[in-house]
């Protein structure tokens, strides 16, 4: 009886270790490798910085939703003195990607126009926050 019990305990321990590693291995694949270019999705799901002094080329995934701003608390911290601490939020709603200005000082621009209401984004749109310009991809 103790031998059987110890064997079961041993297998439970190993099983838990593998369960743990599986949880990590499952989601790590998407994060290893150079880029998103290979992943072609229909819905716009990321922003790439196309004009900035220090951040050009950086990419941010929209995922369930992100807040862009200068604050350390923002999901995507933007190095731009013309941006507000919490400047704008981008989130998914049904199958739309919505951009909302969070009462920023200098405003948020989509394709050059300042937005006043939550605005739907599509691939190829440009978003300007402060002096930084993103492209939706």
């Amino acid at each position: 009886m103790p031998a059987l019990f110890l064997n079961i305990l041993k297998l439970i321990f190993l099983g838990l270790v593998y369960l743990f590693l599986w949880q990590i291995a499952r989601s790590i694949g998407a994060h290893v490798g150079p880029g998103q270019r290979s992943k072609q999705t229909k819905v716009a799901d990321e922003l790439t910085v196309i004009r900035s002094e220090t951040m050009a080329g950086q990419t941010v995934r929209i995922g369930a939703g992100i807040v862009i701003g200068r604050s350390d608390e923002a999901n995507f911290i933007i190095d731009d003195t013309y941006a507000s601490d919490f400047h704008a939020r981008i989130g998914q709603q049904q199958d739309k990607v919505l951009l909302t200005d969070l009462g920023s000082t200098n405003g948020t621009y989509v394709n050059g126009r300042r937005i006043t209401v939550p605005t739907s984004l599509g691939k190829g749109d440009t978003v300007q926050i402060g002096k930084t310009i993103f492209e939706v991809r």
Binding site: K10, L14, I24
Partner: protein, 426 residues
Amino acid sequence: MNRNAEASLLVGAALLASLGVAMVNFTLGRGFDAQVALTFLVWILSFGSVSFALRRWAPAASPYLLPLAAILAAIGFTEIYRLDAGLAAIQRWSLLLAGAMAVLVLFLLRGEGVRQLRRYRYLFLTVGVLLLLMPLLPDSFPIHGAEINGSRLWVRFQGLSFQPGELAKLFLALFLASYLADNHVAMSAHTRRVFGLGFPPLRHFGPIIIAGGVSFVVLVYQRDLGASLLLFALFVGMAYIATGRRSYLAAGGLFVAIGGVVAYQAFAHVQRRVGAWIRPFDDYSDTGYQIAQALFAMGSGSISGSGIGLGRPDLIPAAATDFIFAAVAEEMGFAGSVAVIAAYALLVAAGFGIALRTRDVFRKFLAASLTIVLGVQSLLILAGVLRLFPVTGITLPFMSYGGSSLLANMILVALLARISHTGRSV
């Protein structure tokens, strides 16, 4: 995955560590019930505080690094506790200290991040080399070197001992990333071709030659084959990664081949290591004993192991430190060993993933060199225990008993996490 998933995985690792301790108590009849709770608490305090620091100062950081470190530490700790409850108690304190240091590093880098470290290149080089050479301090000094098992790697101060070489690797990785960030373009220029390989001007081999020299000094005066190979692999590997030129790999390989033959001819300790590797049973009772015991242990482990507390890993010399993998292979079997190797592979994959995604060259190179340090160190000692390579006598990151190693590797993971915060998409 996000910070919350990371937090729940950390709780999982804490539970695993305490389950391991409970199993040891049960099979060995130790019955210290407080140990189980204490272990859980230490995992939560140590890794939890680093996770909290990431949440606060690097919320977009990769959530994979910390859980992988935590589970490796949990598996290693189970075996350490099984071998010696006294060592395990010290290891718990080391883990708390390592967690606190990682939090401190994240705090110091909270504003500008890792980027600000680029300008202190030569300070890092000096500190790194001094740390490496610190064990050579004569015994009459208040802070002096100490020799354990024939390698002079330790420094003693008032009864406390530590291995400065573990931290030296971090400083040298920082130096290298900064140096290469400024020089990689010049270093990748070709001026002549030899045997079909393009070679840059000779002066760009300077760092490689310095690396070879430092590695050789470490090998000769400290009799530390592991640190020597690790440093050399770091310098050559980074020269290749930074420039994409195979000529650096060729030059490095040539250097290792010549250096290896010379070292083998000239030094008795190298001959002993190689002899014990090729024919461990010829001198079973002396030089081959450790490897032979490790082979017996791993062989008897079979597929799922003898069960925690049911094998005899205590027969392997240095089972709690360098040979912890043999103890794991015996008591958790092939299945447990593969899990450990998979965890290291995932850590290295995550590290290089961070390097690939980071745009800024300094931080990109720093992520790559930290990953090389972690990966090569794990590889060297795993291969040594498995008798694929001579035993190099370095610790297995996060698993081996030892405060300096734990501290250095936690800081390494904190730096990687901080790089991934700014460098990658959320």
